[in-house]
Every structure is written in structure tokens, then in C-alpha cells.
């Protein structure tokens, strides 16, 4: 069991490093554009990426700590802290998706987008069994709630994609695939498949952001060709 946890911590760190690079790369484009335009939409997207990067950094920081000090921790502590790192990652990631959603110009989102934020605390509080410790509660129920919120947010993003994006361009479909992967990984995480579902989740997020990175590369080529 200890070996599995150490293995998961190490691979999470590797996937986290790739995720961080890709997120920072895409973020730089939106940040540069925001600096000159000060557009509200770009401001929200910038916040979204700051949150995505923070979620990855928080996950990596806890996993780095665990990989250094794992020998001094009991199996229960190792399990709890590892789960905690994924829960914190998931909650900040959900907030990032929320900012990405409110950056949309579509009006219907203005009214229904508050649903996830209202849902999140309710889902946690409804399921609190009093006999468990606070950290344990947070890692288990916070995770379930954030998984559900991410699935809801991702389905809104998917709806936006289907309504707005250019159907004839292949690269846009990559984002579609990325969102589906994020939703699928959270649905798997709701099943009793831990700790493997955690690994799967981080890898699927990594793939989704790599697809976003490829879209950015395509945007560079497209605008260059246009000149």
C-alpha cells in the first residue's frame, strides 16, 4: 500500500510539472492580451488560469512534501495527505472552471452559472457525519462535492462550445474532447476506485490542457498564414 502511494505521489509530480508548463504557456497569451486591452472577458480568463496554475502548484507542493517526508508518516497519514492534495487541487480547479465560464459572453450563463457555487457548500454540509475528523471530512466530502461541481461546469462549457464554436475547424474539437475527458475523470473519481482514479484524473487534466496548448499553437500558425 505504501509503495502504491509513493508511486502515485511521484507520477503526480511528473504529470503536475507537464501540466504546469502547458498551463503557463497558454496563460501567457491571455495575460499579454489582457495587459493591453484590459477587457473584462480576458480578466476572467486570466483569473481562471491563475487558479488552474495554483491548483497544480498546491498539488505539487503537498506531493513534494510527501515524497520527502513519507518515511516519517504512518500509512493513514500518507493516505490522508495524498487525498487532501487531490481535494484541494480539485476545489481550486473547479473555481478556475467557474471563472472560465463567466468569461463567456453568452447571456444565459449569467443566471445559471451561480448554481455550482451554491451547490458546492450544500453538498458538503449535507453529508457531514459527525464522528469523523475535520481533515478527513474535507478530503472525502470536499472531493465528492468538487467532482460534482466540475462535471456541472464542464457540461456548461461543452454547451457553450456546441453553441458558439466553429464547427468546421478541427482544432476546436480538441477542446471538446478535453472537456469530455475532464468530466469522465471526475465521474470515475466518484466511484470507489481510489487511489487509481486520482492518477487518472490528473492525467486526463494533463491531456486536456495539452489539447488546449495545441490549439494555441494552431492559432499562432493560423494568424501567421493570414498575414
Amino acid at each position: 500500500m505504501v509503495e502504491i502511494n509513493i508511486w502515485i505521489i511521484t507520477t503526480s509530480l511528473g504529470a503536475g510539472a507537464i501540466l504546469l508548463y502547458v498551463q503557463a504557456n497558454v496563460f501567457s497569451l491571455f495575460l499579454k492580451s489582457y495587459r493591453v486591452t484590459k477587457a473584462q472577458q480576458l480578466k476572467n480568463i486570466t483569473y481562471a488560469f491563475i487558479l488552474f496554475i495554483s491548483s497544480t502548484l498546491s498539488m505539487m507542493a503537498i506531493n513534494t512534501y510527501l515524497s520527502i517526508f513519507s518515511s516519517g508518516l504512518s500509512i493513514e497519514e500518507l493516505l490522508l495527505y495524498r487525498e487532501l492534495s487531490t481535494t484541494i487541487y480539485n476545489i481550486i480547479f473547479a473555481l478556475g472552471l467557474f471563472f472560465l465560464l463567466i468569461s463567456s459572453t453568452k447571456s444565459f450563463t449569467d443566471t445559471i452559472l451561480y448554481t455550482p457555487l451554491i451547490l458546492m457548500p450544500e453538498m458538503v454540509y449535507l453529508q457531514i457525519p459527525v464522528e469523523k475528523g475535520l481533515l478527513e471530512l474535507f478530503s472525502i466530502y470536499g472531493r465528492i462535492a468538487s467532482d460534482a461541481v466540475i462535471i456541472i461546469e464542464a457540461s456548461f462549457l461543452l454547451a457553450l462550445y456546441l453553441t458558439y464554436s466553429e464547427k468546421e475547424v478541427i482544432m476546436g474539437k480538441l477542446w471538446n474532447i478535453g472537456i469530455i475527458l475532464i468530466m469522465f475523470s471526475r465521474a470515475i473519481d466518484l466511484l470507489p476506485m481510489k487511489p487509481y482514479s486520482e492518477m487518472f484524473m490528473i492525467f486526463m487534466d494533463m491531456v486536456a490542457f495539452i489539447l488546449l496548448y495545441l490549439m494555441k499553437k494552431e492559432a499562432e500558425i493560423f494568424t501567421r498564414e493570414e498575414r
Binding site: S33, T37, A39, Q41, S103, T105, V169, A219, E226
Partner: protein, 96 residues
Amino acid sequence: MKYRSDIVIILDILDAIGEEGALISHISTYANMPNPRVKEKLDVMIENGLVTEEIDKSGRRIYRLTDKGLETREKLRETVYMLKQLGLIPRDSYKP
């Protein structure tokens, strides 16, 4: 009139000015915006060093893109392309 995001409006103005420079009336027609609103946006762009204002021989005010303006136009095109692909702005909101 359809809602256009600020990014698309700014990009339309930068496109209207182009490499040759343009009069405010041309920018206004291209960007489909009234002159005072275009002037407002242009003032901010001048302040940010994206655009310069020159008076030609016949006394007309011509707006030109600076190097920073050209670079910004490039970045904004990439950004708008990305946002359209992500479905975060309508597909018909910007046609280069």
C-alpha cells in the same frame, strides 16, 4: 446590434487602421461604431502606445499603428481565434 466583446472591438479598430494608417471615419465604418466611441478607444490606445496620431498635409488626423500596436494586433488575433475555438465568443463576432 449584436453584443461584441471588448477584445473584438479593439481588434476591429487595429485592423481598420492597418499598416497604412486610417482616418477616424474609416475606422468608425470598419468597426461599425460611432465616431465619439471610436475616439474614446483610440485615446486609450494612444496612451498605451499602440497607436500614434498624425496630421497630414491637408490637415486631416491620421491614426497609425506603432510596432507595439502591430504586435498587439497579432496577439489579439491569436486570442480571438482561441476564444472562438473554445466557444467563449460567438463564431461570427470577428471576421478577419
